[in-house]
Symmetry: D2
Subunit: 336 residues, 4 copies
């Protein structure tokens, strides 16, 4: 069928498995056809779970197989650049997990060879750009309703980091998400940076944790980013925009309200938006309902969790008992 994209996932680790699951079950228009991992058993397990046809031990073999139109690269970081170049040479669409490359030199080489292509093939997986919270922050900034942006404060905390990585890994592995998203939010490049830190945790030897990063952009906006990779208490990402007339924050805990999942402080009030109707509130429910129904229908059955006709009939009976109570008063027994 012409309108289905055949996708291969390269790397069957934590991120690769997650991408494969989403592609196979939650994404429209894609067909997961191949998995590659140096651990072939791991690749086979993912392929079987999600109905992919083929497995390979290297990304290069998968790319050369003719079974894919596009690849998601979720292999170890040092392989990203090489695999991306191979996929580019084969003319495949690429979604490469961050980082594009561990060094500036390698990233630069990929960028230069990509620039020479007739049309762009590669995207890099900084996924926050698709998060409803960050999308709403950007839209709010674009609106100008709060005056000009003056300063931002971000927090990025992971539960646990394994010993052995240097202090710089906090920047190159974790803070890169902040480094990507802040200029994306503001549409303004970062001009200069300052690293600072104080006392370090006793729980993670040989790595400075937490760290405080300052980034100043070309318009003079100052960004502070509080990084902690071994925070123990939970995965916690926060962002506050300090504007001339308001402060706007991502909520904590994060919100599902697609209408505007933000905490806005303005006009002597700190508030969160209500949806105007049920659709943004239950968007996820509708999507999962349809997904479960499509999968069950393909399997010749009905989704286990969906309401059956008999349950819907019971619901109608209870509703009618309530109407009877409204009309006649008093407790009404529901008909069996």
């Amino acid at each position: 069928m012409t309108d289905m994209l055949r996708v291969g996932v390269i790397g069957a680790g934590v991120m690769g498995r997650d991408h494969a699951r989403l592609l196979a079950t939650e994404v429209s228009g894609a067909r997961l056809t191949a998995i590659a991992d140096i651990n072939l058993d791991g690749a086979r397990e993912v392929a079987e779970r999600h109905g992919a046809e083929a497995v390979f031990s290297t990304g290069e073999e998968l790319i050369a197989s003719g079974l894919v139109d596009a690849v998601v690269i979720a292999s170890p970081d040092h392989l990203h650049a090489g695999t991306t170049l191979a996929a580019m040479d084969a003319g495949l669409a690429v979604l490469c997990e961050k980082p594009l490359a561990p060094t500036v030199e390698e990233a630069l080489e990929v960028a230069e060879r990509h620039a020479a292509l007739a049309r762009p093939l590669v995207s890099v997986g900084f996924m926050r750009r698709f998060d409803p919270g960050y999308v709403a922050l950007r839209k709010r900034l674009d609106s100008g309703v709060d005056g000009r942006l003056l300063m931002t404060h971000s927090v990025h905390r992971n539960v646990e980091a394994y010993p052995g990585s240097p202090s710089s890994a906090t920047i190159t592995n974790s803070a890169v998400h902040e480094i990507d998203i802040l200029p994306w939010l503001t549409r303004t490049p970062i001009a200069e940076v300052l690293w600072t830190a104080g006392r370090t945790t006793s729980l993670l030897p040989e790595r400075h944790d937490p760290q405080l990063l300052l980034l100043k952009d070309a318009d003079g906006v100052l960004h502070s980013v509080s990084m902690q990779v071994h925070a123990r208490y939970g995965y916690d990402v926060r962002c506050e925009l300090v504007c001339e007339r308001a402060s706007v924050e991502l909520p904590n805990p994060p919100s599902l309200n697609d209408a505007e999942p933000l905490i806005v402080s303005a006009d002597l009030t700190r508030g969160a938006a209500y949806a105007a109707d049920w659709r943004p509130r239950f968007e996820t429910a509708y999507r999962r309902e349809l997904t479960a129904w499509v999968q069950a229908s393909l399997a010749g059955t009905v989704p286990e969790e969906a309401a059956t006709i008999d349950e819907a009939l019971t619901t109608t009976k209870i509703a009618h008992a309530l109407v009877a109570s409204m009309n006649d008063g008093g407790w009404v027994t529901v008909a069996g």
Copy 2:
């Protein structure tokens, strides 16, 4: 292709359009092939937007067309039962928007004819069963960690109801969601009900608003449901489970945290869960990123919002400037 479900949507109103959009763009395994609406122009608009092949002015024609394996019924309520029966006769899978039928009699007839089928074909669209919040409430109840459930308090408020509907429509149109979800949460049927109300709003003539519904289940658990269809301030759905050792609530505003999107009051603390890592926090972002990438790749381009190679390269440069500041101290200018 054998593993794609050909779906027709019957009804191109608010809900029908939303189902069509989700099926075409956010649901894996489905192909939207036909739309039916008595307003053929409306059907055509939806079909064109989402690439469906055919339009019909009635559900019956769509069902008879041979173009669909399954139908979503989102037509006016009084047509639900008839269209469901027609689809059942044609052997199609059905997702019927609630209510199955406006009267107990019609619902009963559909239920009886469905019971005579060799295998189930019909599900009814009480979508809350797929909402992460209600799913988490049910899982929590099943765990028994808070002791037995004793009482529940729900709130269901719509922004606006149009004049003309009777007070009973609050029950049959809106409260049915509560009537469906409460016994689903508790796995226990409702035994008796009491309707009550007090002062009514002056803003919605001829309809009693708000109303307070009491439902008692077969285990004696008492459910209170505060309904208000003309609440003006926002769409607001709340649910609290009062257990022997804890109170558990849906958060307000609603939460995206799939790990456990609940507010739990227990042991002298009122708390919300943190995710243990980034995946539940950014599940939506990953899904949307992959969806945008698949669509763009099919169109021979890259997704507009995704990070380009040049942006990824810039991110690497900023990261390296921060590492330089870490090593040498002071502000570091980002290389151009």
Copy 3:
């Protein structure tokens, strides 16, 4: 001195000790002069801690002593009416803890004899009328800004009730606070009531818990009150006013913001007020600072927690170091 009220506290239990402490340390214009308790050692302990001059084993002796202008009655409930009458006969001002009497008959007798006095002497200790949250709710209702009140939902939960009390004690001991405050909020009397309940906790034998109380007032406003005296998880009091155009709630956790300690849902936003300046935010801090300073000054010293001159000098030095950094750039060492 003519403008100091000599107060005796009758009853040295939990509430009596708390009233004595507040009168001695946090209330202006009062002098705690006498304590009465059948347990004379308990009375002596309280008297010594707070500098009261005399102790008595009965309220009647304290009233007759000539040492008090006013009494707080915090003895066991069945003594309230008798002691109140004795104090009235002696012409003393009375603050009687709730309930005024356990039976309607006794309360009626006290009310009738009080009505015959030349001027009122007795107040009853329903303290919620002085809570910033309830005061703000009432003020908001009076303003009419949210339209007419239609319905209210309250929650009242205690951590633990001791076995032995009957189910009616939930009403007469605990729910009386709700029964007092709801008509006070609305300025409208309660006309009729309905008690209901469902499954009861297994943790408190012989008492129905939780209970759901419905009260309807003379204007038709319906109040629901969810009572649970053995909730285990925490002391939790909530109140929501459902109006024609907004919902207004006490915050959870409770707020200190005297400007408007409420959560207001209106105009598609759920919000809390910010103070306009530092005074409401730090009202408690200023009050406690002055109290500590007055007590320390009376004792010929300075309050332990207050900033000393040397600390204030250090603060100035740090401020000047920051100004130097502002002017000259870079880190500045604070002068020793």
Copy 4:
């Protein structure tokens, strides 16, 4: 009477009036006897409202009057040092509003002369040390339960600053509260500081706003302080302690819960404490109730807002109607 402190307030501006009000109505053990202000009419107005006996046009006259044992200094900043010295010479207890002096030199002179006294006389009004939130933060740090403190993040925002003050006033007038409280929380002195800022608001000409202050203490703990004196949206003070195993924050909006008015993130949960019983929840209500009752009793009446005997009687009647409903079922009319 020997145990009442005669207090004079010097300065009848915003802060002086507030101190006078609190001393006269909310503080035990004090008698407000004199007010001084160069604007004698303003001084008279405050004196009359709160029953002070005398007014003076200068602090020196008030100090020399023999009418006070202690003074609160709330005059313009440049007068603080001189008036403090005069009060010290007269042997009076002093609570001096911050700053002690505008310059290090003047503060140093006062400190040196104070050090030579036989006993301390002067406290400086950094009131946050008495705020329940900061007190709870310090107690939590002292407990060590969250591991060592690593970093802190504070926010301090005022609604409005008047043009004309220099950028340094943000530090010397506003940030001094942060500079005082941070080493008080940690019991560790500040060692070095860094001032930084980025884009400045267009709404406050000639002053850099916002500013970001970094303070590092003698143990290496790094404090970031985000200052904004013209934030427009509300008065907002925040503080977060980043520890080895938890993050602890002041709640926003601020909380009344004296048991522990903090937001604690630990063990994959973000939580706030419930009180264990009603006393911390209603501490403010009890205090205000007693204060109103004492004042009314001194005036020969009962407090307007307190429950009357008739209201208490009605409460008892409603409670009995609910018990009747419990026993007999159905709605029960409240006896007239």
